[in-house]
């Protein structure tokens, strides 16, 4: 490709000049090569991605964010509740908590999670 100034239309040449000025430090230091390699890698990745793979990645993303979200919600709320009173809860209060449907659902969930982990061992 001939990039000499005569072969480039007058409207484009200031643009090219500005671009070359920006790129010059990268070229001088040999760093442009890395960037070109990086661009090729990104382009290859885009070529490799297909809709089913994007779907799998997206579902993975949803699972990861949803799990992180519910766990951090639970920790935040539990922390707020637990630090409300200066005294640690008494045995009777703990038993009362155990009677609450949400607690039983949570304990059931934790046990079931362990159960399924066990199944996969």
């Amino acid at each position: 490709m001939d990039l000499s100034n005569e072969s480039i239309s007058p409207a484009i040449s200031p643009v090219l000049n500005a671009l070359m000025e920006k790129l010059k430090p990268l070229i001088d230091g040999g760093r442009l090569d890395n960037l070109v390699d990086l661009l090729s890698l990104v382009s290859d990745l885009v070529d490799l991605l297909d809709p089913p793979m994007v779907e799998k990645l997206a579902v993975l993303f949803e699972n990861a964010t949803a799990t992180t979200w519910s766990v951090s919600n639970a920790i935040r709320t539990a922390k707020a509740d637990s630090t409300k009173s200066e005294q640690p809860p008494g045995v009777y209060q703990l038993l009362k908590l155990l009677r609450e449907p949400d607690t039983r659902r949570g304990v059931g969930f934790a046990l079931k999670t362990l159960n399924v982990i066990g199944r996969q061992l």
């Binding site: 885009v46 994007v54 779907e55 990645l57 993303f61 709320t77 707020a80």
Partner: protein, 396 residues
């Protein structure tokens, strides 16, 4: 006394806002000074844009919904309740189950509904993709048509300068349809005609509701052999003869009529008396900066129920939610609103089955269309399949 914030509607607007409010007002919630309740008439949350894909057999119903409770922070009380009456002076709501909810701040996020019955013959003879069941019916027709004519119409609300739902959807589905019929190998025997009404918000005789995009459409359509016609405002449909008649005096035959039907606010909003929109459409008079409802105290509106000129889109809700969250928080903390909505909407348009075009616009700027790309298509796909749920949870 504790301030009660009640949000009605568990769609994308109500859900994002509830989560953002819970974050913003967390100190007050911990001190018991603020409570947030979300009421919705469905236990499920639907990713509505997926209905468009249902029409092309690209999404299962099971994939496009989640339990609303699972999308809400635990600080939010969620009740499945259909609001039937708004008592604005009394600051309370009545629900179908007979319960009464008092509020200090109310946010209406009930969206809009398609109303094909508002055009004679359209409900009987037309198809659309704005709800699940109609989209399934359209999918069946599109999967079996071998030859003939698919006629596309777009109906705008009659309220001046209010758009139909998701402005770009008719263009998206026209391009998807072209690809879909090519994949099926029947495109050369099926004619596609895209039409647009004479009045599209502030524009006249165009192909899209914003000029720059409207101007590039002819070349895109011509490349794909899609016919297009300006100035076709659907007036009436004859289901027996399969003919669509326009206000302008034209008549066109079809085998499939793929229509963007009229829309309206939900019944409870229509009957609330808060809207003066013509044609009983029910859009709430919205302060375009604060998103409060004009004429009412302590009432905000988000999403499809507004009467603003911006797209009725999730991408609009995404920018409205932080404004309302900040304004309600500021009213509670400072006694005044502080945030202003600039009309921003962003989206990745689905331009055919594989390509996508990221876009944004606001009150001041129109969309500047860029060439659709494969990467844009993959981004849209990733959003449909996963990113959306993080957005609804208020994480993005």
């Amino acid at each position: 006394m504790s301030k009660r914030i009640v949000i009605v509607g568990g769609g994308v607007g109500g859900t994002m806002l509830a989560n953002q409010l819970a974050g913003k007002l967390y100190p007050e919630i911990l001190r018991g000074e603020v409570s947030i309740a979300l009421l919705s008439n469905s236990p499920d949350h639907f990713y509505k844009p997926a209905f468009m894909y249902v029409a092309f057999n690209l999404f299962f119903q099971e994939e496009l919904k989640r339990a609303e409770r699972s999308l809400l922070r635990p600080e939010i009380t969620f009740n499945v309740e259909e609001v039937t009456r708004f008592d604005f002076p009394g600051q309370r709501l009545k629900t179908r189950s007979g319960k009464v909810y008092d509020y200090d701040f109310l946010v209406i996020a009930t969206g809009c509904v398609p109303a094909p019955e508002r055009i004679e013959g359209l409900k009987e003879a037309g198809d659309h993709f704005y709800q699940y069941e109609p989209a399934r019916q359209l999918a069946q027709r599109l999967s079996t048509i071998e030859k003939g004519r698919i006629f596309i119409t777009v109906s705008f609300p009659q309220t001046p300068n209010v758009p139909h739902q998701c402005g770009i959807a008719p263009v998206e589905t026209t391009l998807m349809l072209d690809d879909f019929l090519r994949r099926r190998g029947v495109r050369d025997k099926v004619e596609i005609i895209y039409t647009y009404p004479t009045t599209a918000q502030l524009l006249r005789n165009c192909l899209f509701l914003q000029r720059p995009t409207g101007e590039i459409l002819p070349s895109i359509f011509e490349q794909k052999n899609i016919r297009f016609q300006r100035g076709f405002t659907l007036k009436r449909v004859d289901p027996d003869k399969k003919i669509a008649y326009s206000e302008e005096g034209d008549e066109q035959s079809f085998d499939i009529l793929m229509a963007t039907p009229p829309i309206r606010a939900v019944d409870a909003v229509l009957e609330s008396g808060a809207s003066q929109a013509p044609n009983h459409e029910g859009w709430l008079p919205t302060n375009h900066e604060t998103l409060q409802v004009y004429g009412l105290e302590n009432v905000y509106v988000i999403g499809d129920t507004v009467d603003l000129p911006v797209s009725k889109a999730g991408g609009a809700c995404h920018n409205q939610a932080p404004v309302i969250a900040n304004n309600i928080a500021a009213e509670i903390r400072l006694g005044t609103t502080i945030a202003v909505y600039d009309g921003r909407v962003q989206a990745v348009a689905q331009m055919g089955l594989n390509a996508g075009m990221p876009l944004w616009y606001d009150y001041q700027h129109d969309v500047l269309p860029t060439p659709p790309t494969k990467l844009g298509g993959l981004l849209r796909h990733g959003f449909n399949r996963g990113l959306y749920w993080a957005v609804a949870r208020g994480m993005l």
